[in-house]
Each structure stands twice: as structure tokens, then as C-alpha cells.
Subunit: 345 residues, 4 copies
Amino acid sequence: MIVTILGVTGYAGTQLLKLLLQHPEVEEVLAVSSSQNGKFVLDEFPALEPELITKKMQKSDKHIISMEKAVELKSDIVFSALPHLKSAEVLQPFYQKSIVLDLSADFRMNDEAKFNKAYGSAPLFPEQQKRAVYGLCEWFTEDLYKTNLIAVPGCYPTATLLPLLPLVKNQLIEGDIIINALSGITGAGKKAQNHLLFCERQENMTAYLPGMSHRHAYEIEEKLEEKGFVNSISFTPHLIPLRRGIFVTTATKLKSGKKQEDIKKAMESAYDKKKCIRILQQIPQAKDVWGTNRCDMSFHLDGAHLILFSVIDNLMKGAAGQAVQCMNIRLGLPETTGLPLNSPF
Amino acid sequence: MIVTILGVTGYAGTQLLKLLLQHPEVEEVLAVSSSQNGKFVLDEFPALEPELITKKMQKSDKHIISMEKAVELKSDIVFSALPHLKSAEVLQPFYQKSIVLDLSADFRMNDEAKFNKAYGSAPLFPEQQKRAVYGLCEWFTEDLYKTNLIAVPGCYPTATLLPLLPLVKNQLIEGDIIINALSGITGAGKKAQNHLLFCERQENMTAYLPGMSHRHAYEIEEKLEEKGFVNSISFTPHLIPLRRGIFVTTATKLKSGKKQEDIKKAMESAYDKKKCIRILQQIPQAKDVWGTNRCDMSFHLDGAHLILFSVIDNLMKGAAGQAVQCMNIRLGLPETTGLPLNSPF
Amino acid sequence: MIVTILGVTGYAGTQLLKLLLQHPEVEEVLAVSSSQNGKFVLDEFPALEPELITKKMQKSDKHIISMEKAVELKSDIVFSALPHLKSAEVLQPFYQKSIVLDLSADFRMNDEAKFNKAYGSAPLFPEQQKRAVYGLCEWFTEDLYKTNLIAVPGCYPTATLLPLLPLVKNQLIEGDIIINALSGITGAGKKAQNHLLFCERQENMTAYLPGMSHRHAYEIEEKLEEKGFVNSISFTPHLIPLRRGIFVTTATKLKSGKKQEDIKKAMESAYDKKKCIRILQQIPQAKDVWGTNRCDMSFHLDGAHLILFSVIDNLMKGAAGQAVQCMNIRLGLPETTGLPLNSPF
Amino acid sequence: MIVTILGVTGYAGTQLLKLLLQHPEVEEVLAVSSSQNGKFVLDEFPALEPELITKKMQKSDKHIISMEKAVELKSDIVFSALPHLKSAEVLQPFYQKSIVLDLSADFRMNDEAKFNKAYGSAPLFPEQQKRAVYGLCEWFTEDLYKTNLIAVPGCYPTATLLPLLPLVKNQLIEGDIIINALSGITGAGKKAQNHLLFCERQENMTAYLPGMSHRHAYEIEEKLEEKGFVNSISFTPHLIPLRRGIFVTTATKLKSGKKQEDIKKAMESAYDKKKCIRILQQIPQAKDVWGTNRCDMSFHLDGAHLILFSVIDNLMKGAAGQAVQCMNIRLGLPETTGLPLNSPF
């Protein structure tokens, strides 16, 4: 099986490269980058195991290659870690011939108006959108079996939706939903910008794009509404001085007449036998999912106030890991093939 | 003027020592610790300026001293950075003779039932409580002029109440208040505990004591209710891998019929000419108040959802700095005497 | 194959548990701790994969167990991550029946006088010492095949010796050796001590136990002398605010008449086909070996001054990883079985 | 007194701004930046105290200004935090009219050949060089009184030279000097470069430009040679994941016949009554000088091996703080006027 990664030099792209080189079913990896085209893979990524590169990057002779070269070499699977409003465009040569997993937002949303609000533009390929499946694996497993276009969810939506969807689906909550999300700095991408420098983030924290200003807010809203949610959400992300991790604290209210036991049952029934989800008695910690494809979650009831906690590694279950999980499902492999669930941290 | 610090080896006590040694009106500082009694101050605190110690710690011959010795030496002002349910007891010899500033929770709450819920015990000295003034400086300035017992507020309540009080007082919000607070690790105190080790907190984050489980939730609730708040709060603190800083994100709803302009006016009118408060157009950042006695705040309106942001240095405006500000007010000094407002970070 | 880990709750012991649960040849793991005896493994280590525990910890019914229980259950392999001067003693019941890998210093040194200088005591079992093999895998491979007692090297000695030994062996350097080692905080162990708190180490760095004050200095000296080194070393370790990693900068002098090419040849010839060693053109970085069992190294010649750089993950190649590598060699398995060489960082 | 800061947006320039706004003898500060010209000072530096800006930045109406405007407004003192090979050029309009303190390397070195090796260019203004005084305050006090051109030393040279100069001057050491320096990331400047991103430096460390590849090596060498040093140095800097701080470990040999007491005496005699230098019994820690203008140092003798430890805050005694100390000396003020010696950390 030949897989291609577009945009391999960003944090999500690099994580994909690490995972796919180690994946037992992947025979060949093509690493594509317009800026690093022609460079030796090991020079760009000295953290990789040389032997894996030698073994699985033969077609490119261990080099980072261009889009043109990748198209020419053909792939069974293509992952794109390119920016939104660019990814869907660049992916065009692959739609007919490969299974495409797009980690950008370009195919995540079915509601064109919401997409427009979030991204300031109409979706690029509304026709393609119809066949796209939203790759939140635990909720769209059936659809993932048969699609060739998978929209891998955003990191914030993944961490936020996983504890909420069972409650919304079972109509256990009422009123608005207040979402506070804390993100490690890899979530902001690998950009040479002043505010992402070590010296600007160490011993610092802040919120950004509150309310409905962040693009992911609309993605969260749409997926909740598709399950019957009728009220409003308020989503506030924060930048926290760690490399990896998203910790989400969601406050809402238990529906009158419902009980703690109902929440427990809804969660357990949604995630029974789901290996990437763990429902804990205690509040989860970022370090326990670091480097894994797992989402740990717990909930706390205080009178009618219901507080949900969920934590993921933003580069794993929040991006590259979930993308590989989608691929595994699509190919009929066990869904955690090649995915760490044991934190190396 | 002679000042005494009880519990000088904790983070708040040490910060008090730094501030008071530099305070232009303080002539002599007595540093008290039961565990480090007899040790040279400079050996315990090598970050201090030797010359200041030589100049202002003559009575103790530059040593950390015992309670007994401190009582014997007499003080104009006594600060206690001892734990709750111990502080009020240990302070007994000073109530009649000195101005007492208690950084513990022992005199913060007027409602005995709430205190009991928060601390699992009745207040130790209900009689003393009557003369205690809550040292949230910008709101109790008048009372501070004339009391000899000041209860310095908790770090979370300070950061939470400052943006909320003007809105509650002016009846600009309705419904419940959802408070998410992020705290640096000094907020957990200087305790040799496994979960506070560098290797347990680096690249980690979590919430703890959610809903109304944290003691400070009741302190916040009481002070809001005293200004007319009638609904419920939900308070969730988080541990963030930085040394200093509290960042609070508070979500509530604008009262029907009220406008953005009303909030702005209420905030500006509450804090006009208050040098330790700054209302910003953009979301505040922890690094900008690091080492200062300032609270920076901003608000964001998204439909009816109102989000408040506030940030303080938990050891300064959240503890030692505010204690010194209280002392300054009590003594009729300019309130920022000896207090940095310019971040050294 | 049944393996036992003594002292599983420290950082090295926990890392062993992670590695051995994932090791393809290990069928059953016994986790021993006197302090946490009786606790569920997943409660103590929530970062582990539940399924692995279920599968490979059946004999202990997924619990941490006592020494007595471990002795009773028997093991093919026993790892000890206990402290020096205690480990050799506690290991007694296993010497005759199991292959023993001791991560403490108790069997690392052949020279009793040096051991005494380093540990302030004579070796506990001088007779056992004779059959112990020093587990610096790349240098003692042949001996590792046939021993049942392996002394896994210290973290500093591993990182220091790997670049030095080829040069000493080939008589390429002259004069003294100045070693500066930087260590992440896990190197200091998981002890609830004030100086290891997050707030004491963040934005801090220092040296400790310089010259020949650190125990590892004698271990380094002995192994160099065994290869013919006749001058003196000076070893200074430093504490650096990161979790994992040892970076060693070693300064010495190129022997008169020798050339850059000689060093390159000696290094390449020593480590040709050694999968855990990589000789780089550029200076290595800690993040590139994070979580791997690899030592990356490079050298720099400036006139006669020769500077060697080497970096390892102190919990992997510096402790648990190298212990597993030793086990693999002893058992005739490929030496990197179950050992990551691809950094997850 | 009017002071101007050229290059105010870098880390050293910003630190100068903080210090000078608080300096009791400075009446007016002009902040110059070509990239941020025209911006409100408080918008660029929200960590500053608004009142200080209002009070001391009247001539620029609280704005960042251009070079042209600064020349027009005239200054008593001009600090330049511009890059080397640019600073001396830009400073031209001020040489005749103001006291100039250049934080760049342009006037630090008297030996043109060495300058050439270090900076790949001849000095820009060899004539000016003759009147320049090297601002290592404790060693050039007398010369500082009477010069109008001060070359503020580099951060590494300051930390390295302070413990070494008394030993070289008194001929107490022999052989080569091996210098290992650890630097916080502000030392690399405020540049939007990938390798300075939070996510590239967190949990990472490395060396760079070893041997004599770093420019500061030549500055160190020259100043040692001027005091009689005849052997060679080897200087290796390292990047450490903290914001501020330089920790230097220097290894050399005690001259035959000399004793520990001689070193102690030489150091004490050099720094007797120097308020910015502290000689400690124990190894210094970065956190104890954080935010101060102090250099803490200690030494350790192990046989003939002599190890020196020194630590500074690279933005204070390593840059802006030392520049202000130079200014104080030049103006006949107490040398620590406006300079913190009490760490706020």
C-alpha cells in the first residue's frame, strides 16, 4: 500500500509521517512539501528512524518530493495536511484515483452558510462535499467503510464533541453549552511568528477568538445540531505553554428529570468497546494521553450544573492519529492498527 | 515601622518578604517560620539583595525567628501567610497590639454556613470576624482605612470578582455564572508533593475540584451575593504549567435590554483612577501582569453571551501584593507604594 | 516469558513497565512496589493502555504486588529499579533462578576502591560482582550473551562513554577530559523534594556535585581506564528544566599527529551497524532522541581542541531502554526488539 | 535627562525601556524602532506601567518614533540595541552630541584581526574605537567616568570574564580554559525563526557554534589576553529551555604551587564592595539572579582541576542592566541606581 502525505513539514504532517512509517500495512510513504522539495527526509526530520526511511521511502529515494512527482508515482491513500481553502484544490488530481483523507477544514461542514461564516468563503467543491464523510471515528464508523473522501475533524471539535454527542443524542442536557478549551502550542501550527516564540509563550497564557470567533466553533455547532441540539454554544480557546494536548471543560445543565446515572449510561453505551475512548472516575490529565490516540473523559455533576472534561493529544486523536484511525476503518483493519494507546510520556 | 511575616517560607510569605524589604516606609522586617527558625535569611532566600537584609533585618540579626521571638519584639503590622484554620489561632497575640493582615481564609467570609461548607469547620473567632474587612482593595477602600484586621482575599476570588462586581452591582447580567480559572503552580503552594514535581506538571494540564468543590467558590459566591447576585455559580480551577499567573474566563449572559456600552460604562466607572486595574480592548495575557500588582481585564459580547477575561499574578495581586496594597491604604499611603506595576518579565 | 520489575513506581521502573508491556516476547509482567503494593496498576499508571494490562498482567490480577508475591510467582527475567546499596540485597532470592538486570549501581564497578569512593561503602556482594557484565550494549555484546547478572549502566556514563570509548581505545586523545553533562529532571528521580518542584526548576538551571563529587564520575573513570585511559577526568552535571534528556559536551585534545579523519574512522568502525547509535554531521538535539533508545553524537575539532557531543533520553538509552536492549541481547533477540528508535516527540 | 533607545522592540531594547522608565534620574525616554515607528508605546508593550509612559514619554507623545525624529529631539544619552555592523553606522548622528552606549559588538574589540575573524568584516569606525571603553563595569570603572562611547559587553563574555579575570590577572591558573555556557532563549533574540518557536525548544537542548565558532569567543579571548592570558580557550554555548539566564561552567587548572585560598583572596579582593557581584559558598542558581543586575559565582577545586560557576540574567547584567550600570558610573551616580538586585522571581 502506497500512501502520500501532502504538507509533511507542519506538525500534523510530520506526525502523520511518523505514524505511517511505523504502520504495519503501509509499504511505501511519499512525503510532499513545496518548500522542502528535494531535501533528504532524514535531514529535515532527524528524529525519525533511519531504517524505516530506507525501507519505506524507496520510490522517492528517501527524499521529500513535489506534488507533480507524487501525482506521477500514484498512491492508494492520500493524506492532506495543507491549509484550508487550499487543501481541496491541491487534492484535485487524487479524487478519482485514491482514497483521500483531508485534515483541513475544506470538507468538514455540510452547512454552506456556516462554512461561509467560519472561513469567509463558500466551500470550494460543493459537489465533492456530498460524498465526504466526517471522520469522527466513533460516530461515523459505518459511513467510513464506504467513502473515498474523509474530512478529518478539527482538534477542538474532536475533544469537545466526544463527551457531548452521547448527551445531546440522548437528550440529557438543556440550555446553552459553554466550552472552554485549552490548547498546547503545536495547535497553532509551525509558523515562524513572534507570538509563537518560546520566549513569548513560556510563563504565559491567554484566550483568543472567543465566543463564535474561532472557526472550529461552527464545526462543533453543526455536528451538535445534526444530533438535535437547538440552543447556542459559546466556545473560547486558550493558548497554554505546553507542546501537545487539548483539555476541554464544557459546562451545561442536566435536563430536568434526568440523573447522573443517565449520563453515565449514555456515555458508556456510546463508547462501549471503543478502544480510543476511556471514561474515567477522576478528572483526566493531559500527560496520560500524550502521544496516544486516546480521548480520556469524565463528568461532574453539581446540582443541575454538569461539567464535562475531555483531553486528547492534539496531534494524535486531534489530527494525525485520528486520520490514521479513519484510514484503518476505511480499509477494514482493526481501528487502532499502528496507533499508540500507551503514552510514551 | 516594624512589620512581621508569619510563614515566610511559603511562596506568598517569600513574596511578602521581597516586597516589604523594598517598601520605602518599612524600616524593619521580622521573618517568622517554625521550620526554618534560626537560619540566616540569606541562606534560605539567596535571591534577596544582601544589603536590604543588612539594613532592614537588624532586630533579628538577619535570622529567621520564632513566633515567640516575634511577639517579644513587637510589630506595627503583622502579615500571616499561614494555612487556614491555623492562621487565626496563631495570630492571637497580635490582635490587640498590631494591624493584622491575614492572607489565609480565616476571616474572609461573613456567612458562617458558607465558611463551614468551604472549610469543614466553624470559623475560629466569630467575634473577630465582625471587625474584619475583606481586603479586595478597589471595593472596600473606605472600610480599610479604619480596621485593624484585614482578610486578604484568595487568588481565584480576586481575579474572578474584579470584572464581575461592577456588572452585578449594576444589574447588567442575568442567569448563572460559569467560571473557568487557570492557575500557575505556585498557586498550589510550596509543598513537597509528587503531583507538584516538575516532571509531573511539565507538558501536563488538568482541572481539579470542579463545580463547588473548591473552597474559593464559596468566597466568590458570598461576595457576589452581597452585591445582589441571586443565581448560581459554577467554578472550575485548572492547573497550568507555569509558575505564576491566574487567568479567569467567566461566561454569563447580558441582561435583556442591556448593551455593550452599559458594561463598558460600569467597568470604567468602577475602576476609574484605580491604578491596579486596567481595562483592555484586547484579551489580556498572563505575561503582561507577571510580577505586578495589576489586574488586566477585557470583555467580549457574542449575542447574549458575555465573556469576561481577567488575569493577575497570583503571588502579587492574588496574595502578597494585594496584602501590601491593603497595608498602604490602611496607613494612608498611596496605594501602590512599593508595588511594581511594570512587569519585569 | 515472565518478567518482574522491582521498584516500578520510580521513573525508570515505570518506563520499564511501559516497554515490557509492549515487548512482543514478554507474556507476563509482574510489577513490584513496597509502597503501592495491592493497588490496581491502571490506578497508579493511568497513561498505560488498559488492554495491555489485561493481557499481560494476569498472574497479579492487574495489581501491583509485593516482593514476596513476586518471589512466589517466579520469573524468567528480573529487572531492579531500586536504589543502590539496596538493590543487590533485595535481588538475592532471584540470583540463582532468573536472569537479573540491575539498574542500580550495585554491580557496575569492578574496582572496589572506586566503588567505595563513589558510594561510601564496600560492594555488597563482591562474589556476585565477578559474574556481572556491564550492560553498555555496544561494548559488551559478547559478554552479555552468557551472563545471568547484568549491571545496567548509569545515564551519565552511557551518554559520556559512547563517544569517548572509540577514541580512548584507539589512542586518539591525550591529556585530561572535561565532561559537562546536562540532565532533565527525571534524572533526579521521582522524589517529593522541594528542589524538584515545578516552581523551583522552571526558569532555573544550576550545576551540582562537580569535579569528582558525583558517583557516576567514578563509573566513567573506571570504564575509560579499562580501555587504557591514564589521565584524569573532571565531570560536572547540571540540572536543566526539561523532563527527559541528557546532553553531554566533552572537551579533550586530539593526540599530536592524529587527524579529524582518524576520529571519524574510529567512531564509524565502533558503531557500524549499531542501530542505537547515530553519528551526525551536525550537533545532536535532545528532542530528536526523546522517547527513543538511540544515542546521537557528533564531534567538532578546533585546532587541537576536540569537542564531543552526545545525547540520549535518560529514561531510555540511559536506563529502561538500555536494560531492555541488554535483555534482548542476552536472549538472542534482535537488540532493538520492542524499543522505539523513532521519536514520538 | 533625556535618553534614547535605538532598537527598542528586541528583548534587550525592551528591557532597557523598562529600566529607564523606572530610573529616578531619567526624565524623558525616546523609544526608536524603524519597524514599529508611529505605534503607541503601550500597544507594543502592554506589560509597561501606563503612568510611567505618560510621565516620561511626553516628547514623543507616548509613541515609538523614527531615528530622524530622535535625532531632531536630541538626547543626553543614547543606547543602541541594534545589530552589530549596523549599530555603529546608525549611531553616527549622536557621537558628537550624546553619551553613546552601544549594546552591539561594534566597539567591543580592540584587536581588528580578532574582530574580523568574529564578524567577517573590519570594524566600521576604527577611529571611534580608540575612545571606546569596554563596559564590563567592575573592571573598567575608572575609564567609564570619562568616556562618551561605551561598548556594553556581550552576555556570554560578561558571565565568563567576571570569575576568570581575577584569576588571570593574579596568574593563578595555567593551561587552557574550557568554557561551557548555557543560555536561555532570549539570548537568541526576538526573531520569528522556526528553531526559536516554543514547540522546537520546549523539552529540547543542544549546543551550537562550538570551539571558536561563536563570535563571543573572540571577545572573551581578547579580554583575557589583555590581562596576560597566553593559552587557548574553547567556548561552547548551549540553548536551554528557559527565557532568561546564562550559566557558565569554566574548567581550567590551578597553577602549580597555588592554593584554594589564593583563588578566594583574588576573587574577594577583585569584588570587594562590588554590589553586583556575589561570591557564594554553594553553586549559584539561575533563578536567584533572575531579573537582577547581579552575577553570582562560586568555584570548586578538585585536585588541580578548577571549576568556576557563574550566572547572570542575560537581559540584565548580560545586556540592558549592565548598560544602565555603565550609564550610572559615567554620570557619577551610585552604580546600582534604578537596578534591581532583589530577584522578583
